[in-house]
Symmetry: C2
Subunit: 434 residues, 2 copies
Amino acid sequence: MQRILSSQLHGHLGQTVRAAGWIHRRRLLKSVAFLILRDRDGLAQIVITEPQQRELLESLPEETTVSVVATVTANPSAPGGIELTEPQIEALTEPAVAAPFDLFRPQLSATLPTLLDHAPFALRHPRRSAVIKIGAAAVAGFRTALTEQSFVEIHTPKIVGTATESGATVFGLDYFGRRAFLAQSPQFYKQIMVGVLERVFEVGPVFRAEPHDTVRHLAEYTSLDAEMGFISDEYEVMAACQGAVAGMLEGVESLAAQSMQMLEAKMPALPAEIPIVHFTDVREMYTKATGEDITSEPDLAPAHERWLGGWALREHGSDFVFVTGFPTAHRAFYTHPDLARPGFSRGFDLIFRGLELLSGSQRMHRHSDYVAALAARGQTDLAPYAGYLDAMAHGMPPHGGFAFGLERFLGRLLDLPNVRLASNFPRDLNRVTP
Amino acid sequence: MQRILSSQLHGHLGQTVRAAGWIHRRRLLKSVAFLILRDRDGLAQIVITEPQQRELLESLPEETTVSVVATVTANPSAPGGIELTEPQIEALTEPAVAAPFDLFRPQLSATLPTLLDHAPFALRHPRRSAVIKIGAAAVAGFRTALTEQSFVEIHTPKIVGTATESGATVFGLDYFGRRAFLAQSPQFYKQIMVGVLERVFEVGPVFRAEPHDTVRHLAEYTSLDAEMGFISDEYEVMAACQGAVAGMLEGVESLAAQSMQMLEAKMPALPAEIPIVHFTDVREMYTKATGEDITSEPDLAPAHERWLGGWALREHGSDFVFVTGFPTAHRAFYTHPDLARPGFSRGFDLIFRGLELLSGSQRMHRHSDYVAALAARGQTDLAPYAGYLDAMAHGMPPHGGFAFGLERFLGRLLDLPNVRLASNFPRDLNRVTP
């Protein structure tokens, strides 16, 4: 008999159907027992009065998988107005082991380490699986938006021969007897691929060996990367970036509305044009507003970003705000300088609800500029950059791009207290299992 | 002035427009010079008669990026019936360095090692970038087909704590002072996630430390993985698999038809139902057809797969054929045995044009079956399998899935002589750059 999902039962009123899923909860009352069945679409209530079926249910702990043949019956007081009656229950495995904590309560009360230790179990809680579904919807929206803008998806190597971007924070590995590294970003490769396809994006893992134990750091996360050529300036990149973020929000709204509702998460306000403020203006605005003089600070601190987030919401009704023109010295070596403002760059950040979500910039595109910028940072041995500089030497267009972590986006969207809750199996300083 | 792409020039006949791209080819004739400009959409011919412009062009080697303001002019003898005349050329960088080989010829004559050494350059050849575009279209189709079947996209960790699937072929790394490994597949995690979401898929890198130097092996490739719960048998998995492959072909046909045409690649024949043959029947059919007795062989050799591929095409007009029921001893420990045929499993392969494309199976789903299967293979220390077995102990549905490499799919689809040509920056025994 074909399986009917919980969401489709209402269309089979009066019929005998087969449902299947996990025993989400048992309620064993005196004269009646209830089995709340969970499947990928939601919950279904099954009413048990027959003694043998009740005995069977009593022997099956929560999370045991079952198949249930029963009659779909209207009951205005049941959740959704229907329930399954006169069931024949069949266990699909041996009884599940005892649960380390209850999955059937609306909130998970277990501590974070307990949730992570028991991730294969904890992720089954509807509030945890909702995060995964929202993430999948956001990524689908990211891809759709960029594909519509003629970006092509690429897959770049995660095992790389040199630790060039920032040597201290990469994982080393033994690669057939020689030393290799895990890519901390697809930065060089996506730039190279602009030389091939003009517009590229990638969704893939990146690896950071940063020994930080904070609520914001992961040693492995899913990076959303885009890069585009033949731009006039970084504002074109920011427009593509806004399009990608808008696509993610549309994806969430159209594909994961139910999950958003369950988490009581509010869709962010994204205006037709995200406000853009130059770095030096942010410093002045903050100084004027707070009386604390930050006009000679070389970078924005989290407190400044929070203040700016509040400003964008008050003044522009926006949960997002771009900051442009960061000082060159605080940006990656490939960032294009702002030739009209010495010391400042064409690098930008996107602040989402008062927290830096992503960084981007126009990149340099002339081979000679790369050689000079690397030399200025003390890099005179260019051998580790060979493939990257090869692309620049063979003719590259003015280009730029941006990158951000899916987990950070989800953390901000869903107001998660720890980025680990946006990852299914987070990797950090102390955790490499499950 | 806004840039017009080569594919859109015909809509601007008589107008002065700006085009931009790479100098694909220069043809310096006596009285006239031609600049063939390449952008992401194709080629445009620019006619130069003015001496200063010609002098400029002579100083700009192939692959230099340029912006060109010119008039769109009809010329029936030009490619596409139009050309750009009276151009003002502006170089966007310094002149490109000398090309290691010509990109403007229809075929790339450089050897494979040369192509790979110069990948950032070689990938710009339209026949190389076509492979990337076809790959992106195939992956988009894979995701669409599975999303329509309620599969949810997941991202599982690539750094794992134990080398459990097959210890000899994993890369080890130093993870904050302890030993960790690169995941050789998302197998355990996707099974765990069936316990959470029922149906999941992942597109991501996998890592194989196999010291094989063949035309079929890569040390890192893009794996397409799917896994589904509450199945009756492996035939349901095969149906989902056929749907995924059909989606990939639809993606290629609708999004990359031009690239397929350029490569003169023939779309494969995919019937409404891919023929399915049991392993033991393949042995008998082959023996009968060839006179060579393989009825007691424990696995299929490449020659047998080739023969079967020919049979499927002749008898069923299909470039694909499923083989089911492989001997249990030759499949992964998690493969569900066929209880009706001792010694045989619920594992299957999909043969694509005579070559194994993918493997799949119904998996075991009872915790006790896992403990027994591991013990039978000499694994009595279950600690390395803790998270995986945790999922099984907490109630799993009957489930199954499949996995295959994007590069192998592309290799077969495009008849590439070496799987390295399906990867942008292949990683193998001897190559970890560029």
